[in-house]
């Protein structure tokens, strides 16, 4: 009898290990300077006390995807979700090192930053195709959302049937317009936030529980 119990327990352990679903990896995507790392840091800090990476006003500060494993988000009703947050480099179709020189960088540093940025964009696209289970798509709500990169990326995300939340960031700025983003992407939930000030993060966390749970 003991033999059967032991065998059943062992089999159950193997089956659990085999079928155990890994934590969903939620990629924070968007064009450069939308505030992806600021929001990633805010989420990770709110729920784990850590941070993911440095931020800068010079575009392409994040040139490697960074992952924080096991971020557990919960609400007062007892709903929880544990996810990996992946902060990704800003996606674009063009990078010219001259842009960084305009921010006061030396030529050699600007060329190095541009090279690393191109690798980062390629890496972000690869993650999206292979390793991402859901997306927070970040947009700067002071800018026109109707750009080719945004339309293309949202199209790529939709074609992979990934759950997506669009974040209209920088609502603390006077020119911000979350309604323009809602108009551009009516098929997806749009949550206005300020990653920098931490405004309206509760609504984003509720939506994350609903979408990624």
């Amino acid at each position: 009898m003991n033999f059967f119990i032991r065998t059943r327990k062992r089999l159950s352990k193997y089956l659990n290990a085999f079928f155990k679903k890994r934590q969903s990896r939620i990629g924070i995507y968007g064009p450069p300077n939308a505030g992806k790392t600021t929001l990633s840091n805010r989420i990770v800090r709110d729920w784990t006390g850590d941070a993911l990476g440095p931020v800068s006003e010079i575009p392409h500060e994040t040139r490697r995807a960074r992952r924080k494993e096991g971020v557990t988000i919960s609400n007062q009703n007892g709903n929880t979700v544990t996810i990996d947050i992946v902060d990704t480099p800003g996606v674009t179709t063009k990078i010219d090192y001259q842009e960084f020189i305009e921010y006061g960088m030396e030529k050699d540093d600007a060329i190095k930053r541009a090279r690393e940025a191109t690798e980062g964009v390629a890496e972000a696209m690869h993650w999206l195709r292979e390793d991402i289970d859901g997306v927070i798509y970040m947009l700067d709500s002071t800018l026109d959302p109707f750009t080719q990169v945004n339309i293309m990326l949202v199209g790529i995300i939709e074609s992979r049937n990934l759950p997506v939340i669009i974040v209209a960031n920088k609502i603390d700025l006077p020119d911000a317009s979350a309604s323009a983003i809602r108009k551009a992407f009516p098929q997806h939930p749009v949550i206005p936030v300020s990653g920098l000030e931490g405004n309206n993060m509760e609504e984003l966390y509720e939506k994350m529980l609903e979408h990624f749970g």
Binding site: V91, T93, M125, R129, M152, I156, R160
Partner: protein, 124 residues
């Protein structure tokens, strides 16, 4: 001799016979030469993703700085092609549309609306 920019219009028939990598190489080789490429039928989302990735690998300092690409928003998968039968079979139509691709340092979008794209192109 006429000075200007070469524009290559590639038909949907030709694109349909090509693999993803053949399409991407055709586009990038042409654009790196300083030409404008017009695709009668656009790329699928997966092809667009690979085009961005390979474009990044081709960028060089003081050389090719990337692409400018414009297309209309994709038509709703349910309303473009495939029809009810296609949808019943789970066939998804990406609804790709005419697309213009050019070198980022020569082509600039002036205005983009739902149904009108206005771009400016300079010679090298």
């Amino acid at each position: 001799m006429i000075q200007g920019v070469q524009i290559d219009l590639i038909s949907a028939d030709r694109l349909e016979k090509m693999t993803t990598m053949e399409k991407i190489r055709l586009i990038l080789d042409d654009v790196i030469e300083g030409n404008i490429v017009v695709l009668e039928k656009g790329l699928t989302p997966d092809e667009q993703s690979k085009l961005i990735e390979i474009t990044m690998l081709e960028i060089t300092p003081d050389g090719f700085s990337g692409i400018e690409m414009e297309t209309y928003s994709p038509k709703d998968a349910g309303s473009s092609g495939g029809g009810l039968f296609g949808r019943l079979l789970g066939k998804k139509s990406p609804g790709t549309r005419m697309t213009v691709i050019g070198p980022a340092n020569q082509m600039k979008t002036i205005k983009k609306d739902k149904d009108l794209i206005s771009a400016w192109v300079s010679s090298r």
